[in-house]
């Protein structure tokens, strides 16, 4: 059954797959996780701020993003980002946006909704006495968030945040719908060029599987360590 397969095609395309494809995937994953975490924390703070209107807006954004499929959101932003750029820069026509920027904006906006729910749970898990003690010490709201609440919330939620980042790593493969050469896109380009779908897709699956397995094993170890400390 593996008789007429040519696994040498993988070796020949390794530089392209990893230097171009995987570096795109990892860069997109890392930057989206970072951006999603920053925006997600802001959204979580809005929801917990006590201002009804701010909280309502943030809640609507999160519910809205979470009820849409990622593929649809990718298409939305692909067409929307040029117009947003035009609006931001005041240009006379929609600006040209590269594939990487477009998908980065998409994933940051999409993941912010998911990260915000994690950070909200993290902030709510801090006992009320701590921000109260902070304000008794004369810290402002910003200072108490910066020095007391957020560091602990972030630390408690680190395993969940990392698990979400593994999900994000897998989800970046969906930029395939825009024919962007991320790792899977690169594998698929080689597969179609050389007519070697079976070999390339099996290899791509194995690589995703190995990376996600190792990463989630690391998260489990981390979780066990944090559990002892607390």
């Amino acid at each position: 059954m593996f008789g007429n397969l040519d696994f040498d095609v993988i070796r020949r395309s390794l530089p392209y797959l990893f230097l171009d494809g995987m570096s795109f995937t990892l860069m997109l994953t890392g930057l989206s996780a970072l951006g999603g975490l920053i925006f997600g924390t802001l959204i979580a703070l809005m929801r917990l701020s006590g201002y009804k209107l701010l909280g309502r807006i943030a809640g609507l954004y999160v519910d809205f993003m979470r009820s849409l499929p990622l593929v649809l959101v990718i298409f939305w932003f692909y067409f929307l980002v040029p117009y947003i750029g035009q609006w931001l820069t005041g240009a006379s026509r929609p600006i040209r946006v590269g594939a990487f920027t477009s998908s980065l904006v998409t994933f940051i906006m999409f993941e912010a909704a998911y990260f915000s729910e994690i950070m909200r749970a993290g902030i709510q898990s801090i006992s009320r006495g701590q921000p109260a003690a902070a304000s008794a010490l004369g810290l402002t709201y910003a200072q108490s968030m910066r020095y007391i609440v957020l560091p602990q919330a972030f630390r408690n939620m680190l395993p969940v945040l990392l698990t979400q980042t593994i999900v994000l790593f897998q989800d970046t493969s969906l930029v395939y719908v825009l024919s962007i050469p991320d790792f899977l896109g690169a594998a698929s380009k080689v597969a179609q060029r050389d007519g070697r779908l079976v070999e390339m897709y099996l290899f791509a699956a194995a690589v995703y599987f190995a990376i996600s397995c190792v990463a989630s094993y690391g998260v489990r170890r981390l979780q066990a360590r944090i559990a002892i400390v607390r």
Partner: protein
């Protein structure tokens, strides 16, 4: 924004010659629902089996359950669909492979099975957690009453666990609906696919995507409302969610 809005586009005939653009989107919506329901049935069946395996005292059984879950959770759904759609027919004996390739509606069946198995790993994790959350006494009481392990699961543990994990199962079902859109990559023209087709034919990008967005939101609202009623009527008295 210099974009030509045209909301009447939905009532203009679509280029396939069968009805309006709105009809196109509605047929996509129906296909999304159909695929999601079939995938959900598959996810529930396999998820239940694997969830039970994971909760059994036997080391071998829980190891099999663990491997199953890891296998389906550590690969992107898109890659899994490619494996089912492009790779599987090539690895089967040539007769079976040919039969698979010539199957009418292949994208639909592949999508339903692929998404179903992908989601089954998540259902299994939820169910195993639900069973683990039951007090140990329940299993012991079942044994003391003379029920076999199978009877204990059938009459005591599963009915309790399923009622407890109703809320996470609701969001897993919604994930199933959303995940069917990944099947656009193997040629399933569901709701997102029809919106994309409409955008390509009519150039009215934002109208097409707005309509698809509204339809996904509608599915969400209907499912969440329906499940809230179901949760309330199935809530276990004495538990936090119960009366």
């Amino acid at each position: 924004m210099n974009y030509n809005w045209n909301w009447h586009i939905f009532f203009e005939p679509n280029p396939t010659g069968a009805g309006t653009y709105l009809d196109m989107l509605v047929s996509g919506l129906l296909l999304t629902i159909k695929t999601a329901l079939l995938a959900w049935i598959i996810a529930l069946i396999f998820g239940t089996i694997v969830g039970i395996l994971r909760s059994l005292p036997s080391k071998a059984a829980s190891w099999i359950g663990f491997c199953y879950v890891e296998f389906f959770r550590n690969m992107p759904l898109l890659v899994q669909l490619f494996l089912w759609f492009f790779v599987l027919p090539e690895l089967l004996p040539s007769g079976a492979g040919l039969w698979l390739k010539q199957l009418p509606n292949a994208p639909f069946w592949t999508a339903a099975i692929g998404v179903g198995l992908f989601m089954s790993a998540r259902v299994a994790v939820q169910l195993a957690a639900g069973i683990a959350s039951l007090p140990r006494g329940q299993k012991n009481a079942a044994t003391a009453l003379g029920l076999t392990t199978a009877q204990g699961y059938r009459y005591i543990l599963l009915p309790m666990a399923f009622r407890i994990i109703m809320p996470p199962l609701t969001s897993e079902f919604l994930n199933t609906v959303k995940n069917t859109s990944v099947a656009i990559t193997i040629g399933l023209i569901e709701l997102t696919g029809q919106a994309r087709a409409m955008q390509e034919f009519s150039f009215q990008v934002f109208e097409a995507f707005t309509a698809a967005t509204v339809m996904y939101l509608a599915i969400n609202i209907v499912v969440v409302t329906g499940m809230r009623f179901l949760e309330r009527s199935l809530a276990i008295p004495g538990y936090i969610t119960g009366k």
